[in-house]
Symmetry: C2
Subunit: 192 residues, 2 copies
DNA sequence: AAAAAAAGAATGAACGTTCATTTATTATAT
DNA sequence: ATATAATAAATGAACGTTCATTCTTTTTTT
């Protein structure tokens, strides 16, 4: 293992530890020493890789967000028919939310609290551009209702966050059949 | 002003202060001394009304949640036709989320983080029972798709949280026309 | 042997909470 | 009605603890 890889390893261990602690105990209980202990590293070592706690959190957010959007647009091409393209993206995001539960939970916590810098939050918003482009095309073609992209998002993608939360509290688990029905509801909400 | 009212006043000032600080700075930055200062009270006074910080937060959550559900079912009666009843509840909740922004923001923060005790969270869940009952009736009558109440919630009520978040970041504001369209999408998502 | 990485101990500041008093209110006695 | 006693409410200072961060020393790599 070379130097570069080792650096990445420690950094990754720290990001993982932070993710888990923030998810399970909340930001206010995720202290630097706990993070260090979980990552099997001395507290001071964190400062070799991150400027301070805020930088650690921001970095984690951007890292996870970018892994999310990579996942979301896997196998998607903008020359596909509108509904097919939307279906691919929707199922990708559903898979992410229901399989990569820790990452998705963390993102949802960041999006609903002020623990992330305004600048980092803005940076994270840019990741969904291909979906916004798709919706513009869909509206032009008269396939989807002429609603703002915010509303389209609210009724198709955002509900998945609730299903994630429910599943995580293990009141409920979403099988393939349910997933199809959920997609149908998303589509019914926005289709003309 | 009698004694009872004075007690309620200080308590209310403390709950208000906590709401504002947690909303703006996050739970981890809302220290007891800041809360006390904002409520114009000595730090020690908080402990006359609440056991500790966790109890303060839990109390705030339950207070707000109960004001929310009172608002949600205003003018609702279970002998109304299903769609009419749903419409009343939906618009009530929309009004709450878009007008009582601070309270709604706080609830959304609580629902997406581990800052609330498990017991308090469970307690808060019971408030939506009339809506769940309505949905059961709607499914029996074949007016609404045979989906779990979780999914029905995810596609009708939950999207309002996103619209709240958007409006609060003031990227966007929801007028009456948009609100009607949003209701239409909610209904389209679940109607048969 | 020199440089870089990591560790652990040490730092002041800030935290939630408690304490001994003071201030305000209510009840009792004159 | 007035003065006094008893109670309740509220305070600011102080507590022990924990926090994020830094400093010094040790270990590892080159």
């Amino acid at each position: 293992m070379n130097q570069q890889e080792k650096v990445t390893d420690k950094k990754k261990a720290l990001l993982d530890a932070t993710l888990n602690l923030v998810n399970n105990d909340g930001f206010h209980k995720a202290s630097m020493s706990k993070i260090a202990k979980l990552a099997k590293v001395a507290p001071a070592t964190i400062y070799l890789y991150f400027e301070n706690k805020q930088d650690l959190i921001n970095s984690l957010y951007l890292t996870v967000k970018s892994s999310f959007s990579e996942y979301a647009f896997k196998d998607y091409r903008d020359d596909l028919p509108v509904k097919k393209g939307f279906e691919i993206i929707w199922y990708n995001i559903a898979d992410y939310k229901l399989n990569k539960i820790d990452e998705a939970t963390f993102l949802s916590q960041c999006d609903n609290t002020p623990i992330i810098d305004a600048t980092a939050a803005e940076e994270g918003l840019k990741h969904l551009q291909p979906l916004l482009d798709l919706w513009e095309k869909a509206k032009e073609e008269g396939i989807v209702k002429p609603l703002s992209n915010y509303i389209l998002y609210a009724y198709t993608i955002y509900p998945l966050s609730f299903l994630l939360a429910i599943q995580q509290k293990s009141y409920y688990s979403l099988n393939d059949e349910m997933r199809q029905k959920a997609f149908q509801s998303a589509w019914d909400a926005i289709k003309i």
